[in-house]
Point group: C2
Chain length 458, copies 2
Amino acid sequence: MEVKKVFLAEDEMPRQWYNILADIKMNPPLGPDGKPVGPDALAPVFPMNLIEQEVSPQRWIDIPNEVLDVLCIWRPSPLVRAIALEKYLDTPARIYFKNEGVSPPGSHKPNTAVPQAYYNKVFGIEKMTTETGAGQWGSALAFACSQFEIECKVFMVRVSFDQKPYRKSMMEAWGSQCIPSPSSETNAGRAALEKDPDTPGSLGIAISEAIEAAVSDQTGKTRYSLGSVLNHVMLHQTIIGLEAKKQLEKIGEYPDVVIGCAGGGSNFAGIAFPFVYDKINGKDIDIYPYEPAACPTMTKAPFVYDHGDTARYTPLLPMHSLGHAFVPPPIHAGGLRYHGMSPSVSQLVTEGIIEARAANQLEAYQAGVIFAKTEGFISAPETNHALAGVIEEAKRAKDEAKEKVILFNWSGHGLIDLEAYDKYFAGELYNFVLTEEEILESEKVFEDFPKPQLIKSR
Amino acid sequence: MEVKKVFLAEDEMPRQWYNILADIKMNPPLGPDGKPVGPDALAPVFPMNLIEQEVSPQRWIDIPNEVLDVLCIWRPSPLVRAIALEKYLDTPARIYFKNEGVSPPGSHKPNTAVPQAYYNKVFGIEKMTTETGAGQWGSALAFACSQFEIECKVFMVRVSFDQKPYRKSMMEAWGSQCIPSPSSETNAGRAALEKDPDTPGSLGIAISEAIEAAVSDQTGKTRYSLGSVLNHVMLHQTIIGLEAKKQLEKIGEYPDVVIGCAGGGSNFAGIAFPFVYDKINGKDIDIYPYEPAACPTMTKAPFVYDHGDTARYTPLLPMHSLGHAFVPPPIHAGGLRYHGMSPSVSQLVTEGIIEARAANQLEAYQAGVIFAKTEGFISAPETNHALAGVIEEAKRAKDEAKEKVILFNWSGHGLIDLEAYDKYFAGELYNFVLTEEEILESEKVFEDFPKPQLIKSR
């Protein structure tokens, strides 16, 4: 019997998050006037303690005990060796993954939902708002808010709200309210409904609604929460990679390759940033975020200043972007259908510290089915993109006859996303490839914006 | 920070199952002629190696390495202390649970699906058939068969097939075939369809179809598989309780109370039997199977000889039974809607070694919602019945000001059963209580059968 899983005891859990801002230099976010945005400008949207964390230059940031207590519901997550997958691929590579599907909502998202709810609570906030597309983030925040007894309202893109009723049920089981967006509760929602009463909604509109619902609360006790992109979100997710590093150490391993799927960037950052730190400090290691070929933010779009949302409520962020008005093709990995990319992940790409890659929808599902039949677990559509990358790297290791160690983030299970597997088996899933013209067209929206500097951090 | 979870390393995993047949005496199963059924009579249905296990008197039975390798995909499962639940209930009790929701299909069912698939494979079987109601068992066998490259066909009760399309998708992701029952593929199915083309189907018909599909395969390479009730199924599940015992030992604890929900009896047996062994050997410990009040097999029905299925294909089994023609009220815990009870669990009840209890549907869901808001995980409808029992016991401990240790089996998550939570919140769930008359009426079917002896094992 070969050992498949490495556990950490709770007292071996990391007690600090790793903050990559200590090790890279970045362009600042800009306000409407083109000047850097100060913390105060964000105060109506986020609680000040999270804003401070967003801009902190401190390399190691303590994880509060109250946060650890809740993370311990499912953390430390198992590190699993994918022995059956290795055998199936007949590869000399040793493949390890972090199983982030063991959390109550089934994904990595609560790693940041829990500290965000905690910091809001400490700041005296009584209600949080957010948006959700496919529902992983909304259900994670609902779970976290229930732990800290915070009211929570989730604006869920209507088409997903109708297609995935179980996500709403999960949020309600945790005591949250989940309503379809656009709704008649906000100006942004009413405007969208007036324009098209039958609109399927969009993440852009839902973000606008959630921000508006937070800032318009006259009591000042409501704040908005975002599940990816921002620095503090990446920070909270680093517990994944920090645990993985300890677990690999226990068995005398260190990765040659680190892989995560990337939409806004948070699950990738979670597993990768602690290894990026090693790479900056001289380790020889390849780090690949895998994005969908249908939404090729890092692999096809430029590094620019652009808004994080369609409605242009957010500051201008320095990032790879397909343009804030870009509507990604309807791939089933809803969590990867984002026009931009976390500024810190984007900065690492521009510096060549990490190398972005893309996977097509069909190869992603093919990889997911191989994984289900070997390692047993059914993966989220997003996670399948990481799996496509893992299989690509494992085959390369075979071709090169190299005993590589591959580490990847199994960011969540797909038990609530099974209709896409049905379509895959029925031959009803397709690859979407954008033309150069489509990409150039969608990029027009940021033509007149300031341009970020190309910074080398060292 | 209090420690919430106790892990076992893979090399600490139990290497043998505990077989309760070594410690209790039981009435034999009877054939149509009223005489004990020999192993040969079952040979067309089950492979001989499993039949031998079914009747083995050996107390400890080795777990094959090939089985351990697959169980290691998710086992040993975490033992979790429900600290937040304890605080919520303000109880002096310390509450621990085994998290069986971490398996790929999300329940305890693969603990027996995996060894069953393995023994079939070793015996040269190439195809397995089974039935499933709500779908937990069918998806577990599909997963297990994919691990051993066995073809698998699941007859799923039509009403569930239509209501829970995700279960079929899971089975297909693992390469199995799942068809609605009644089907036109078997005599039993065709007869049912002829009688009522719009029938919602039943577990009774689905069992008949699955057995018929197995025994009618002329190649002799197909066998049937059952996910509960039988001795070898209880045996395989004891890994849960054996792990729990080791985990509790690590932290110097031993349970005063052990609780599991019970439909056919397997998840209850899994956690309880290793402690029944201790009780038989002098330990002071209370062991409670919780069944639904709507299907009160142990708490209201007699210990008799009855068939395990509606179509009367199975031998007569000595068990508590509401009658093989009994159709349980439509509670949402599909896995507990069974007219009978595992003979070994039934024997323990008749001897007074364990004490059966019942929970109503509404108190079960109320308990599930409390658990979701404290411990974070959303439970399967079946599991909620165990939770109702745990909360009852924890409150009793408070009333008696006793520092009891309560151990229960968290048999699975409810992420594919969320529509029942919706109904609960909408006030559309009800308690079903059978009248004495209804019970007496349903018991008429076994009036003329032989009666089992009331055996005292020691």
